[in-house]
Amino acid sequence: MKTRIVLADDHRMFRQALRAMLENEPGIEVVGEASDGIELLQVVQQTLPDVVCIDIGMPNLNGIEATRRLLALHPATKVIGLSAYNDRNFILDMLKAGAAAYVTKNEAGDELLRALKAVRLNRKYLCPDIADVVMGAMINTQEVKSGTVRLGARERQVLQMVAEGMTSTQIAENIHLAPSTIEVHRRNIMRKLNLHSVAELTKYAIRNGMTNA
C-alpha cells in the first residue's frame, strides 16, 4: 500500500519539483497539493492522506496553525514540517503543534525520504541541521555537532589539499575548477565541521587520517 501524501507550499515550482522527486520513489503517492493553510485543510478533508508536508510560511493560515487545526480534525495524519526556517522557535512550535518530523527545504531530497520512512514507522524525525539546533537549545551550547557530519567526495578532496598547504588557486588548477568554486567548497566544509581557520581544518584532516602531510 502506497503512502499517500499531500504537499502544502505556496511556492508552486517547489511543490512540483518535490512532487516529481517523490513520485520517482516507489510506494509514494502524492494525492493532493495546497498553496495555503485553508486550502490544505480542504484538501486533507477530501483526500485523507497518510502524511502531509507543510511549509511554515504560507498565506492565510500559517503552517504551524494549520498543523494544529489539521491534527485536531485528523489526529492519525502524520505531519512533516518542511520549511526554509531553521530557527529553534519555529521548529519547536511546529513540533508542539504536533508535527512528527521537521526537514529543511535545503534537505528536501534524501532527508525528506528518511523522514517519510520514519513517520510511517510512527517515529519522529529531524534532519541533522535541525537536530543540531534542537539539541543545542536543550543543552544550551553551540559546540554541539551531531556525529552525522558527512563530507562529499569533492569536499574530502578539497579538505585534503587545503591540509597539505595548497592555496585555493593551486587546488583549482589541480582539479580543473574555478577558484571561486574551491572557496565555496571550503566554506561549506568549515560550516559543516564548525571550523573557522585553515589551521583547524589541517588539524581535523590529520586527526581523521585524511592526509599524510
Binding site: H11, A17, M58, Y85, D87, R88, G109, L177
Partner: protein
C-alpha cells in the same frame, strides 16, 4: 531654557543677597539722642562747676581787696585822728593856747604864734583847714587854710567833741557854698586841760580825701575794666555813694540809691550783710561783691566786679564749646540723615536687586513666559516693595495692551482698564502706550499731575498710585507688551532703581527671545526625531521586505533547483566514470553555499524570529548563528524577560547587539563575548562585554582606526528609544557596552509574521513605528 546660557548674561551683582539695613536705623536714632543729652548735661555740669570755682576765687579776691582797702582806710583815718591828737596833746601848743585863751584871746602876738604853728601843721600834713573852736560856745577862735563857714554844724560838732572829750569824726561832706570837688573830712578833737579836766577848746582838722583816700580806693590790683571799690553810707532811706564812681564821674556824695532797691549790693551791705554778696551794682549790672564795714565810721566798703567780666572767659569758652557742639551735632545729624537716606536707598536697591535676582532665577527654571511674568510681578511687589506690578501683552487686533499678570495691593487699578497702543487715542498717550511704541522706558514721577495719564487719574487716586514706570518687553527686537510698576509715593524711583528695572525688562526680553529660539529649536528637534523614526521604520520595513523576498522566493527556488538536481542525479551521473567526482557535486556545493549565504544575509537583515518570537529568541538564534560563523564564544543571558517590548525597542536592542558583535568579529579580535539582557521593574539593561583589544573611542574615524559609524549607530539607536548608551574601552582590556532604558513588557502576542506574501498586513503591523 539652558541655564548656562542665561547665567552668562547675568552679572554677579544681580545675585546680591537681600540686605536689611534699615533695621539698624531703628536703634541708631535713640542712641544718638541719648548721646547728645549726655554731652549737653556734662557740658552744663562742667560749666557750673567751673563757674562756681571762678566765683569762689573771685570772692576770695574781692575779700582780700576789701580787707586791704578797709585796712588802708582805717589806717588813713587813724593817721588823721593821730594828727589831731598830736595837735591837741602837744603840750607847748596847748599851753600856749590855754594861755592865750586865759588872757582873753586878745594877745595878737600870741595868736600869730598859734596860727603859725597851725599853718606849719597844715602844710606838713596837707590839711585843708585847721581851726580852733571854743569848747564852751563853739565859736571859731583860730583858723588856717581855706576855711569854710558852716557855723551851726561846726558848733554842734565842737560841743559834741568837747562833751565827749574824745575826737569826733566829721564825716565826708561838702562844705557849704564850695564846689563839689572840694569834699572834705574832718576830726573835731578837744583840747583837754589837765588842770580843769575839761575841754578847753576843740581843734578841727579838715583833710582832703581826694588827695589820698580816694586814690587809695580807686587803686585797683588788676586792670579790670569793671572792678571797683565803693564806699557807701546810709542816709535815711538812701544810700550815698561816698567816693567817685567809675561810671559816674563826679558822683562823690551826690549819687544816691534807695535802700529798697532789690538786689543792690550796697543795699544788701546796709542790711548788715557782710562778706561775699551777689546782686546788682549801681548801674543795675549783675555783679559779685564783698562788703565790709569800715570800723569807726558809718561807711560800708564794697568791692565789686561785674559778673560779666568774671564769667567772660568761661562764658566765651562755654559759648565756643556750645558752638562747636552744635556744629558737630549739625554735622552729625546731617551725616545721620544722609546715612539713613543712603541706607534706605541701598535697601531699596538691594530689594530691587533681590527682585531681579528672583526674576532671573524664575527665568532659568521656568518653562513658559506666563510663569516668568508671574514671577516678575510677584518679585517686584514682594521684594521690590512696589504697590503694583503688571505685565501687559499687546493685542494687535484691538490695539490694546491687555494685562496678563499682575500682583500687588493695587491690582484693582487694572479692573476694566483700557490702555491702547494707538497714538491717536487718549488711552494710547499714556506711559505704557508710549513705552510700547517707542521701545523705551517711560517714567511718571508724579502720576496724578501728568496730563498724559489723565484717563487713569481717578483709578490711580483711588488705588493710591502716585508714580509709575512702564518698560517695553521685546521679542526679536519688536515690542510685544509692557511691564508696568507703580509706587505709592511721588518720585519713588530714583536713577538706580530705573536702571535696575530697565535691566529687569531687558532680561525678560532676553528670556523671551531665548524662549522663542528654544521653542523653534525643540520644534526642529522633534521634527528631526520624527524624521529619524521614519527613516528607521522605513529601513526596518525595507529589510523585512527583502528578507521576506529571499525567504519566500529565493530560498524555495534554490531548494527547488536542488530537488530537481537530486531527482536527475542518477541520469547525470550515469555517463562519467565512477572514479571521477561528479561536477554535480560542485553544483550542489554552490547551491549549499548560496543557501547558507542567503540565510546569513536574512539573519543579518532582520531575523523573522524578531517579529515572530521576540527579542530574546531572535538574539538567541542570531548569537548561535554568529558563533557558528565566527567561532567566537558568545554567552547570552536573559534575566527576568518573559514578554516582549515594543517593536521599536526590540529592533533597536537587536541592532545594537548585532553591531557590537560585528565590531567584535571585525575589529576587536575578541574570542569571548558575554551578553546580558536584564530587567528590574521597568529598568532594562543590556550589557555586552568582550575580551577583545578595545579601542580609543575618540580616535574612531581617524586614519588607521575603524570609521566609528557602528558606534554612532549604536548610540543613536539607544537614544532613539530613550535610553542611555555607555561604552568603556580601556585599550587592550576589552570593551563593555551598556544600554539603560525604561521599557515595559507585554505578554508575547500571537505572531502574524508568518502570513507571508501579504505585504499589506506587514505594513499595517508596522504602522506604529
Amino acid at each position: 531654557m539652558h541655564p548656562g546660557q542665561f547665567l552668562l548674561r547675568l552679572t554677579p551683582r544681580h545675585l546680591l543677597p537681600e540686605s536689611r539695613l534699615s533695621d539698624a536705623l531703628a536703634w541708631q536714632l535713640p542712641i544718638l539722642t541719648i548721646l547728645i543729652c549726655i554731652l549737653a548735661l556734662t557740658g552744663i555740669g562742667v560749666y557750673k562747676s567751673v563757674r562756681h570755682s571762678i566765683t569762689e576765687r573771685t570772692n576770695e579776691n574781692l575779700a582780700a581787696i576789701a580787707m586791704l582797702k578797709t585796712g588802708q582806710i582805717e589806717h588813713w583815718l587813724a593817721e588823721r585822728r593821730d594828727d589831731a591828737l598830736l595837735v591837741t596833746r602837744s603840750s607847748t601848743f596847748s599851753a600856749n593856747l590855754r594861755h592865750w585863751l586865759l588872757n582873753g584871746a586878745h594877745d595878737g602876738a600870741q595868736k600869730d604864734s598859734l596860727l603859725r604853728h597851725l599853718q606849719e601843721l597844715s602844710s606838713i600834713h596837707h590839711y585843708r583847714t585847721i581851726s580852733i573852736y571854743s569848747a564852751s560856745n563853739g565859736t571859731q577862735l583860730l583858723t588856717v587854710g581855706g576855711g569854710h563857714d558852716d557855723q551851726a554844724h561846726d558848733r554842734s560838732e565842737v560841743l559834741k567833741a568837747a562833751q565827749a572829750e574824745a575826737p569826733v569824726l566829721d564825716d565826708l561832706h561838702f562844705p557849704p557854698d564850695v564846689k563839689p570837688s572840694q569834699i572834705e573830712l574832718g576830726y573835731f578833737v578837744p583840747f583837754i586841760d589837765d588842770r580843769y579836766g575839761k575841754a578847753l577848746a576843740v581843734a578841727y582838722l579838715v583833710a582832703d580825701p581826694a588827695k589820698l583816700l580816694f586814690p587809695v580806693l580807686q587803686q585797683q590790683a588788676s586792670s579790670s575794666p569793671s572792678a571797683e571799690t565803693l564806699l557807701v553810707r546810709v542816709e535815711g532811706d538812701n544810700l550815698v555813694y561816698l567816693n567817685n564812681l567809675r561810671h559816674h564821674p563826679s558822683s562823690t556824695l551826690q549819687f544816691r540809691m534807695p535802700r529798697s532797691t532789690p538786689g543792690l549790693l550796697a543795699a544788701q551791705a546796709a542790711e548788715g550783710k557782710t562778706g561775699a554778696i551777689q546782686g546788682i551794682d549801681y548801674r543795675n549790672v549783675p555783679s559779685l561783691g564783698h562788703a565790709l564795714p569800715v570800723p569807726g565810721t558809718p561807711w560800708l566798703l564794697i568791692t565789686k566786679i561785674d559778673e560779666e567780666e568774671v564769667y567772660a572767659h568761661i562764658n566765651k569758652m562755654a559759648l565756643f564749646s556750645a558752638l562747636v557742639m552744635t556744629l558737630s551735632l549739625l554735622v552729625g545729624l546731617r551725616w545721620f540723615i544722609e546715612h539713613t537716606r543712603n541706607t534706605a536707598r541701598i535697601e531699596r536697591l538691594s530689594r530691587l536687586y533681590a527682585a531681579i535676582s528672583k526674576t532671573n532665577q524664575a527665568m532659568i527654571h521656568s518653562q513658559s513666559p506666563p510663569e516668568v511674568y508671574r514671577a516678575v510681578c510677584n518679585a517686584c511687589v514682594e521684594l521690590g516693595g512696589l504697590r503694583l506690578a503688571w505685565v501687559g501683552i499687546a493685542d494687535p487686533l484691538s490695539q490694546r495692551i491687555l494685562p496678563v499678570e499682575a500682583a500687588g495691593e493695587a491690582v484693582a487699578y487694572l479692573d476694566d482698564i483700557v490702555i491702547s497702543t494707538n497714538p491717536a487715542l487718549a488711552e494710547g498717550q499714556g506711559p505704557s502706550g508710549q513705552s510700547f511704541r517707542e521701545q523705551r522706558m517711560q517714567q511718571c514721577a508724579d502720576f496724578l499731575a501728568d496730563p498724559a495719564t489723565l484717563p487713569w487719574h481717578a483709578r490711580a487716586a483711588e488705588c493710591g498710585v502716585h508714580c509709575s514706570v512702564s518698560l517695553p518687553l521685546q521679542q526679536a527686537g519688536q515690542s510685544i507688551g509692557t511691564l508696568c510698576v507703580y509706587g505709592s509715593e511721588k518720585n519713588f524711583f530714583d536713577r538706580e532703581a530705573l536702571e535696575i528695572l530697565g535691566e529687569m525688562a531687558g532680561n525678560i526680553s532676553f528670556f523671551l527671545d531665548l524662549f522663542a529660539q528654544e521653542m523653534q529649536r525643540s520644534a526642529h528637534a522633534s521634527h528631526l526625531q520624527q524624521l529619524s523614526r521614519r527613516i528607521v521604520a522605513v529601513q526596518e520595513e525595507e529589510r523585512r521586505r527583502l528578507v521576506r523576498e529571499l525567504h519566500d522566493s529565493t530560498s524555495p527556488n534554490l531548494a527547488t533547483i536542488k530537488l530537481i538536481l537530486k531527482t536527475i542525479q542518477p541520469v547525470l551521473e550515469a555517463a562519467p566514470s565512477a572514479a571521477e567526482i561528479s561536477p554535480l557535486e560542485d553544483v550542489l556545493a554552490l547551491l549549499e553555499d548560496t543557501t547558507q549565504n542567503i540565510r546569513e544575509i536574512c539573519g543579518e537583515l532582520r531575523p523573522p524570529l524578531l517579529d515572530y518570537a521576540g527579542l530574546v529568541h531572535a538574539l538567541d538564534g542570531y548569537i548561535r548563528q554568529f558563533g557558528q560563523r565566527t567561532g567566537i564564544a558568545v554567552q547570552f543571558n536573559a534575566r527576568d524577560i518573559t514578554g516582549q517590548f515594543s517593536p521599536e525597542i526590540e529592533s533597536s536592542l537587536f541592532r545594537i547587539v548585532q553591531e557590537a558583535l560585528t565590531n567584535c568579529a571585525k575589529h576587536a579580535r575578541a574570542s569571548q563575548v558575554d551578553i546580558e539582557l536584564s530587567r528590574q521593574g521597568e529598568q532594562v539593561a543590556l550589557r555586552i562585554v568582550d575580551n577583545g583589544t578595545g579601542f580609543a573611542p575618540d580616535k574612531l574615524g581617524e586614519p588607521g582606526y575603524p570609521p566609528g559609524f557602528g558606534l554612532l549607530t549604536m548610540r543613536e539607536r539607544a537614544e532613539f528609544i530613550g535610553g542611555t548608551f555607555e561604552i568603556i574601552t580601556p585599550p587592550g582590556r576589552g570593551t563593555t557596552i551598556t544600554v539603560h532604558l525604561q521599557a515595559s513588557e507585554h505578554a508575547p502576542g500571537q505572531p502574524a509574521i508568518l502570513e507571508s506574501n501579504c505585504p499589506n498586513a506587514q505594513v499595517a503591523k508596522q504602522a506604529d513605528y
